[in-house]
């Protein structure tokens, strides 16, 4: 639901509270979203290493207060495997498969598992917020809290979406995506990658899916666990992304913004010096 232009702040807060009460156990915390002046960044395709760097830079900028809380929708310029901060390259990636399919291996600043990225098969976003947004929530609860709006957006598209702790967005048909968070410098970074479509054969040539990882999944077939949004909605990718943005906007408001030249310059330097470096990419070889 969106607040009409004539609404008072109190009415707006009240509707946000009602929304939260309907949605879940986060009723106490949900009104916090409306305390911020949310900005939207939605640009053309960017290189994987620039995305990694933008997450670090924009989290920092929000932490210092130079940037307002922001939702950023990603468009990928090329294929990549994005490893979690603590993953070992050798354990996760088949180097020959990655080379054969022209897939760069990157490492992000958050924990969690490897993501197999093909630009048109992937929907990715980040939220950068002051950590006051999640104050008082446990780390585990803050994941579901940060993605409540996405569950709502997906349900509005007919997907029976739900949050499965710790960090999965799932439906009755299977896993849709995963989230990762980190908190630094007074800000929280929450980013999510969802499968719009997938090529399981290619993914299995590039990612190593070990038996231990699947030990409690009830299936040894990685692709059976994933239920891409294209299959579940029959909608174009941009239509799904538009619905995500519109849902956020309706609930909390969202002002069109862009990456500032100074932010971009910092991110470009960081992409080159850190995220493309072997020291970082092979931090855990």
């Amino acid at each position: 639901m969106s607040a009409a232009a004539g609404d008072t702040g109190a009415e707006k807060a009240m509707s946000a509270r009602d929304e939260g009460a309907q949605a879940s156990r986060f009723a106490r915390f949900s009104p916090r979203w409306s305390e911020f002046d949310w900005q939207l960044i939605r640009t053309g395709p960017q290189a994987p290493e620039l995305h990694m760097a933008l997450d670090e830079v924009l989290t920092y900028e929000v932490g210092t207060g130079r940037r307002k809380p922001t939702l950023r929708i990603w468009e990928w310029a090329s294929n990549a495997v994005i490893l979690g901060r603590f993953q070992s390259v050798r354990n996760e990636v088949d180097p020959e498969g990655a080379a054969r399919h022209d897939i760069a291996v990157m490492r992000r600043i958050t924990g969690g598992g490897a993501m197999f990225i093909e630009p048109q098969n992937t929907i990715t976003y980040s939220i950068y917020a002051p950590d006051s947004l999640v104050k008082g929530l446990s780390f585990i609860d803050s994941y579901a809290f940060m993605d409540e709006w996405v569950i709502q957006a997906l349900r509005s598209l007919g997907v029976e979406a739900e949050y499965v702790p710790i960090n999965d967005i799932s439906s009755t048909a299977g896993k849709i995506g995963g989230a990762a968070q980190t908190r630094r410098g007074g800000a929280v970074l929450h980013h999510v990658t969802m499968a719009y479509d997938m090529n399981p054969a290619k993914m299995l040539e590039v990612l190593r899916i070990g038996r231990e990882k699947l030990s409690d999944k009830g299936s040894v077939s990685a692709n059976k666990r994933v239920a891409p949004l294209r299959q579940q909605t029959q909608l174009p990718r941009q239509t799904v992304i538009d619905r995500l943005v519109d849902t956020f906007k309706g609930l909390r408001g969202l002002t069109d913004d862009e990456i500032l030249p100074a932010e971009l310059a910092k991110a470009e330097a960081l992409a080159k010096e850190k995220f493309l470096s072997n020291e970082w990419r092979y931090l855990l070889p």
């Binding site: 979690g84 354990n91 231990e212």
Partner: protein, 101 residues
């Protein structure tokens, strides 16, 4: 010869340990996985806690060494000291050299 062990709590995250044994003690210890850990530098403390431990150290001993080393502000999510200890025991007792799984 590097030894390799893995463990995943039900509903949790994978913990991978690679290590070598030298004079009956753990050396060249590497801990990785798809877990969450804040601050990220605490991974170095986990590795330091394990390095030099006797090869025969059991789960309780290893988990205790890790817990002792981690400060109160460290947050582990999807795993705990015991998950790491189990992965170490698996590496030491039936760890195979790292190979494609």
């Amino acid at each position: 010869m590097p030894l390799h062990g893995e463990f995943k709590q039900p509903g949790g995250k994978l913990v991978v340990v690679d290590l070598e044994l030298s004079d009956g003690r753990l050396t060249d210890v590497h801990v990785s996985g798809d877990f969450f850990l804040e601050p990220p530098e605490a991974l170095d403390d986990i590795v330091a806690a394990l390095t030099g431990a006797p090869a025969e150290a059991g789960e309780d001993d290893l988990a205790g060494r890790i817990d002792d080393k981690l400060g109160p502000d460290v947050m582990l999510m999807g795993f705990d000291a015991r998950s790491v200890a189990v992965a170490v025991r698996r590496a030491v007792t039936d760890g195979s050299p790292r190979e494609r799984l």
